[in-house]
């Protein structure tokens, strides 16, 4: 009969550290808001009261150093692309990218005559989740974030990745 007996009765869970970390990580997707065009309005509305991204622990950040995921919401012009790349590089690992809307996915309506538009943000940074739509509704962004949560939970953090 040790001193610890009956102190933690129903409060002990046994899990792996990876799972614990991933559970906490996926519950706090702080996103770096890259609102570049009309998709930004949908992103803001997803963050506001009706759709309330903070239910999922997703919280807008204006600094790349505090963010886990970058949401590229809108048209990436070539001028902005250099900045997008630099800010992506300033984010701390592990980092993820959500490409929101047709413009960020593929150039969207600027596909043919957009002399100034990057035809897809995946040309300069790796993208984890693509959200289609022009612009996507907040529900679509929510689903994208939940897919990302799923991806986070399946990834090893401490265990070595198998190549």
């Amino acid at each position: 009969m040790g001193a610890l007996n009956h102190k933690f009765n129903e409060n002990i869970l046994i899990t792996s550290l990876d799972k614990l970390l991933n559970w906490s990580r996926s519950g706090s997707e702080w996103y770096f808001q890259f609102g570049l065009a009309c998709c930004a309005i949908e992103m803001m509305s997803a963050a506001a009261a009706r759709h309330d991204l903070e239910r999922f622990g997703a919280m807008p950040r204006s600094s790349p150093r505090q963010a886990d995921v970058m949401i590229v919401a809108g048209t990436v012009t070539l001028k902005m692309a250099t900045r997008v790349k630099r800010l992506y590089e300033q984010m701390a690992e592990p980092k993820y990218v959500i490409s929101m809307g047709s413009c960020a996915n593929s150039g969207g309506p600027y596909w043919q005559h957009g002399y100034h538009v990057l035809k897809g943000v995946d040309q300069i940074i790796p993208v984890d989740i693509y959200i289609p739509g022009c612009p996507p509704r907040p529900e679509a962004l929510l689903e994208g974030l939940m897919h990302l949560q799923k991806k986070m939970r399946e990834e090893p953090v401490l265990a070595k990745k198998e190549n």
């Binding site: 070539l78 001028k79 100034h116 990057l118 040309q123």
Partner: protein, 162 residues
């Protein structure tokens, strides 16, 4: 004051610097003037008691087709007398050059930089004529009708769809 009256007044004041008065086929009645004289005319329209054109609503460059001259269009409005006039100057394609009115209407500062950025029109006398929208190392003037986009910009592909 009607546009015709403004035209008649400018004609008598500036003579052969005023080229023509366009009323049909344009959205706003337009007076075409000589590129070199635009600053003098705009200043006169601003200072004269009869006109008091104290607001430059818009200044835009324009390229009609690959062989035409460039033009610059000025939309003036008088907040006192509530009348409008549109001025237009043409400038050659090989040497696009016109006088700046940035020191008469501050509005013109950024608008002239935009027209320079996208059409390559030089505004002589502008305090700081450099690109405003495109990156400084951009090559060419994108809104010219004969503009052909480069294949790459800083290593990023500007895809062309055929």
């Amino acid at each position: 004051m009607t546009e015709q009256e403004i035209y008649a007044n400018l004609s008598s004041k500036f003579g052969d610097k005023i080229f023509e008065f366009m009323e049909e086929g344009t959205l706003n009645p337009t007076i075409v003037v000589e590129a070199g004289a635009i600053a003098k005319i705009v200043l006169y329209l601003k200072d004269d008691e009869k006109f008091q054109f104290d607001s430059l609503m818009n200044l835009a460059g324009h390229d009609a087709d690959v062989e035409s001259d460039f033009s610059v269009i000025y939309h003036l409005f008088s907040t006192e007398l509530k009348h409008y006039i549109t001025l237009k100057v043409f400038t050659s394609r090989d040497e696009p050059k016109t006088a700046s009115i940035a020191n008469i209407h501050r509005t013109a500062d950024w608008h002239e930089r935009e027209a320079f950025d996208l059409y390559g029109i030089i505004f002589e006398g502008h305090p700081d004529l450099k690109r405003i929208l495109m990156e400084d190392d951009w090559e060419g003037y994108p809104l010219r009708k004969d503009y052909v986009p480069a294949e790459f910009y800083r290593g990023m592909r500007i895809e062309k769809v055929k």
